[in-house]
Subunit: 626 residues, 2 copies
């Protein structure tokens, strides 16, 4: 059976010793399955069989793409590389300790049972009560409260109170209660017949471009299913500034409606792919990570002033709201917790990144880069935290680039250009190429630069190749003439290249400025965390080649994946993490770049491949010469 013919089948993958199971499509790699199951498997090459860190032992049928990628010695002991092993049947995967991600915190963020202790937004209590009698004639709510809290008072919504007397008697004085966590005041959220009890929460990353939602079993912390989709607000513009402008022109309600629609769609999709199906089980808690503008639009708050100096949001610490206050397909009383942001352009998604990375709890100086639409950067450790937004733009999420798209089926995610200047491309899902995602763009720019197709300013050179075409607007390099039904040509133009370089320059300049602000340099960095949906898939050599990432020993880099979602998950499940999120709000200093001359200077210097200062990128020059 070939890998491609297996695509439509679905198989169970159980990870040991975590003992969590996930169902994946046939053909998915074990690494992808681990990602879906939130089991940490180390990788720094992003699944290209080069770092060889993702060694696991598999019991059951897998097919190897590159069987020789692993040392014979290890192969003989039964090891395979998770990134090269495609699932073609139900399997069990043993993940040895050395294949776990480096940072302990990351480990915790991704491991299903990794939180020391679950203290989710809502807590489930199984209750058995004595029926009332003349000698024990407490009110029904007080009886319930006594069973829940050991005392006779509890905040409860009228909607529950109205059904309470009939419900308790119908259920024979047994009930399952969901109550708010202690830090949210212990109020009653839902009550049900223990026979039909369930406890499902959702973690949500509201990105400017993409939303990702995971349904979570609140009792075990297990991820039930995950769904993602473009933000339907995209019609109002690619970046937050465009969205704010749209809201300013009277589109606020419309934008709120669009993001709520997207979320409701994700809820349905995630429910539909839950296995076993959730059935009528309500989502009773939601934790949200999003940048400040996204959070404003989600709540229907006016984001206007985020855009103008001094860039002040309505709130960085939005109060908890309830499901019913937004038009959300979750329980009406469900708490909606929103991770606090630091500033108008460093939002709760970045707080979530920091919490998930654990960088604020380690003594090692760490750089965290979230290359979403805004390109936020954080530098710090357990003593200091500084953050900025580089306004990088959505190039790496598929925006501002004519053929850009997000990392989904049909996206070109890998590009290698041979000495003949012909590209070799890898497409997600190995289907017809529909566009290029962030990791593909990084590869293209790096490979074109290395092959001399572009100069250090990113301009396509006047080289004789059938891949290069000139038109009125400049030159383009054609990656794919189009295949399949649509015959869609995929190419990259001078304008696209300029946008990508602007983006990478902004991110790099942001890192430089933050380091200077705390009197440090790149060499002082003991770790670099790369967050964002594409983080696991970018080619680190190529990212360094274009000057997006600093030229540091590669082992210092750590891909932490969608850390915003991981942070939302952690705050969904842990009061301690919610406390830490607030601590990050309090401890993190925001550095405003829009008025910073230092940033402008660094940005100018970084607007070349890889940088005007050659000494900063020795490995790249070595590679160029080589």
């Amino acid at each position: 059976m070939t890998v491609s013919s297996m695509r439509r089948m679905r198989y169970k993958v159980r990870f040991k010793p975590d003992d969590v199971e996930v169902t994946v499509e046939g053909g998915a790699t074990v690494l992808e399955a681990a990602f879906a199951a939130q089991v940490d498997i180390s990788t720094s090459c992003g699944g290209k069989a080069t770092c060889k860190k993702c060694r696991v032992i598999v019991e059951g049928p897998v097919e190897q793409s590159t069987p020789k990628a692993i040392d014979k010695d290890l192969a003989s002991k039964g090891y395979v590389l998770a990134c090269q092993s495609h699932v073609v049947g139900d399997i069990v995967v043993f993940v040895p300790e050395e294949a776990r991600m480096k940072g302990q915190q990351i480990l915790k963020a991704h491991r299903e049972h990794g939180l020391d202790h679950l203290s989710p937004l809502t807590q489930m209590k199984q209750l058995i009560m004595e029926p009332p009698s003349l000698l024990d004639n407490l009110g029904d709510l007080e009886r319930l409260a006594r069973a829940i809290m050991g005392k006779e008072g509890i905040p409860a919504p009228l909607s529950i109170l109205k059904g309470l007397p009939n419900d308790l008697r119908e259920w024979g004085w047994k009930a399952t209660a969901l109550i708010l966590a202690e830090d949210l005041g212990n109020g009653l959220v839902a009550l049900s017949d223990p026979k039909e009890a369930c406890h499902v929460g959702a973690a949500l990353d509201i990105g400017t471009t993409t939303l990702v939602l995971s349904l979570v079993d609140m009792e075990t912390g297990r991820t039930i299913s995950t769904a993602s989709d473009y933000n339907r607000q995209a019609r109002a513009g690619d970046d937050v500034i465009a969205r704010i402008a749209y809201a300013e022109e009277g589109g606020l309600e419309e934008l709120q409606g669009l993001v709520l629609q997207t979320i409701n769609h994700l809820l349905l999709e995630a429910r539909a792919s839950s296995d076993p199906l959730l059935g009528p089980c309500d989502v009773t808690a939601l934790s949200v990570a999003g940048n400040t503008t996204m959070v404003h639009l989600f709540l229907g708050l006016d984001p206007k002033r985020i855009r103008y100096e001094p860039y002040v949001p309505v709130t960085n610490i939005p109060p908890m709201v309830r499901g019913k206050e937004l038009d959300l397909g979750i329980n009406a009383e469900a708490p909606v917790y929103i991770i606090p942001g630091r500033a108008g352009f460093v939002g709760g998604d970045i707080t979530a990144d920091v919490v998930a990375s654990g960088m604020h709890e380690r003594s090692e100086l760490t750089l965290l880069i979230d290359v979403g639409t805004n390109g936020e950067v954080v530098v710090g450790n357990d003593e200091i935290l500084v953050a900025c937004s580089t306004s990088a733009g959505p190039a790496f999420e598929g925006g501002e680039v004519a053929s850009g798209m997000r990392a989904t089926f049909g996206a070109i995610e890998r590009v290698r250009i041979g000495p003949d200047l012909e590209p070799e491309i890898g497409i997600i899902g190995k289907r017809e190429a529909l566009g290029i995602c962030g990791s593909g763009l990084i590869d293209i720019v790096a490979q074109m630069f290395l092959r001399g197709l572009i100069d250090k300013k990113g301009r396509i050179q006047d080289i004789d190749s059938k891949r290069i075409r000139r038109n009125d607007e400049g030159a383009v390099y054609v990656l794919s003439q189009g295949s399949g039904k649509t015959k869609r040509e995929i190419s990259i133009s001078d304008a696209d290249l300029a946008n990508i370089i602007r983006t990478k320059a902004a991110v790099y300049a942001g890192c430089s400025v933050l380091l200077k602000a705390i009197d440090k340099g790149f060499d002082d960095l003991e770790g670099v965390c790369i967050a964002g949906g594409f983080g696991n898939y970018i080619d680190i050599e190529n990212a360094v080649t274009i000057g997006l990432l600093p030229d540091l020993p590669r082992k210092r880099f750590d891909f932490i994946g969608n850390a915003a979602l991981a942070g939302a998950m952690q705050t969904l499940l842990s009061q301690e993490k919610r406390r830490k999120a607030l601590q990050v709000y309090e401890d993190m200093t925001y550095v405003e770049l829009s008025t910073s001359k230092a940033f402008f200077d660094e940005f100018s210097s970084a607007s070349f491949l890889p940088h005007t200062d050659q000494e900063r990128f020795p490995s790249v020059w070595k590679r160029m010469r080589g």
Copy 2:
């Protein structure tokens, strides 16, 4: 330097003897600074230099807008008007006692309600904020929270958040905030322009027969106005059992609607009679005392099970709700606090009585009687509290008696019967007699008994008097042939008398049973508190004569008026009283009479005038003989 050129500078203003300091912008008036520092300075003109109450002594640089506004005499002693003095440097302000109006008012209000200290359901905070800048770019909500709480997080409703950015800027970074009391979690309830700020709460007694509502100035505790009306639920029956039955037959929503209508009518009426008129000022807090059934109907909760053994309500400690959850004409976010009840037939109105009477804080054994529709009785002191409901019925509130009415204009409230058997009547408002209220009924029965018009079973005797008329249903005694336009005859019949005697017997029997339950007798009572709307107006001799009240030295009796309303007022204004209400819930033992043989026996013995046991009422027999 001119005032306007000082606007951008900031200065420290220290108030003595309070010894609090505030930083204000140059040019602010001393009155504004006092406002910001929450130091009370009297003003009744609002800072227009006309009332001249805000006299203070300033040390340090201030500029006078109207130096002549203050008398030369005072000026020579160093006084200036706080409203006319602009801060142009660091200063110290001495506020003399006579310039503190609010303090004195509060003192008075404290005395009015027996409160040492005001800590109302909502607290008002006058806020002056620094406008945001690049160096201080907190979110608007965090800026507000910092001004309110000294920390950057506060629960706030979306409705306020939506208007927040425009409001704060329009008001020049000044605002008046109303926040929930500490025991309710400090959340934001309302925000307004300080120029239009007001702080009005309402205390409400929801009686089965009558509702009484007072509007209260939450800053001083002063009662603004009071309104009362029949409970519009009366169409569904006079007593709680009839109301429960009506709800059971599908009338729950209708009954909730009727009581909410009554309350909304009272709110309008109380506003209309406020002086000065409240204008657009919202009611932002409501404290409610009511019996358990009334509270259930108010909240739309099913009261069915209160009626059947073991008489269990949905709740005795209803959670706080918000204005918007009920169809009430108050602020949508206004907290609605409901005083906890003890049992299905001893509700929050009785807890309110106990709190207002203070009996649970004194060592003297006290009997408290609330002769509302249910006739609840409490006996106790600071060590023990027992309570019961005697199901007395609404006779003393005008129910179950043909000519009965509540104590309002046109009610016969005083009756004396002369040796000629002719009545002398006193009418409330001295208008045409429309009926008889509770105090009038007690007088009638006592006077008829003393004049031999009725026997000790309450039967009208066969005496030749033009006042006595016989018909098919028995005899009637005619009090008034009718006067004015309506020519309404007011009389009392054998059936009416039987109802009144049943009521008084139930109350007296309840007292007996409770005393026995704690091994005490009537003689051990060191005080008797008579609560209820009519409490202040009943004739104590007559009440003892019919055996409603025990025959104790008269100085032990204390009329405490509408103690339920007083308790609602106290809990509206004081966190300490809310804590005490919960303490009463915890400490008070409920005695169920419906299954008590002792009660049945006592009731039978008390169903005579004044009682079968003559020795219990020596003063009455002395009077009879006299």
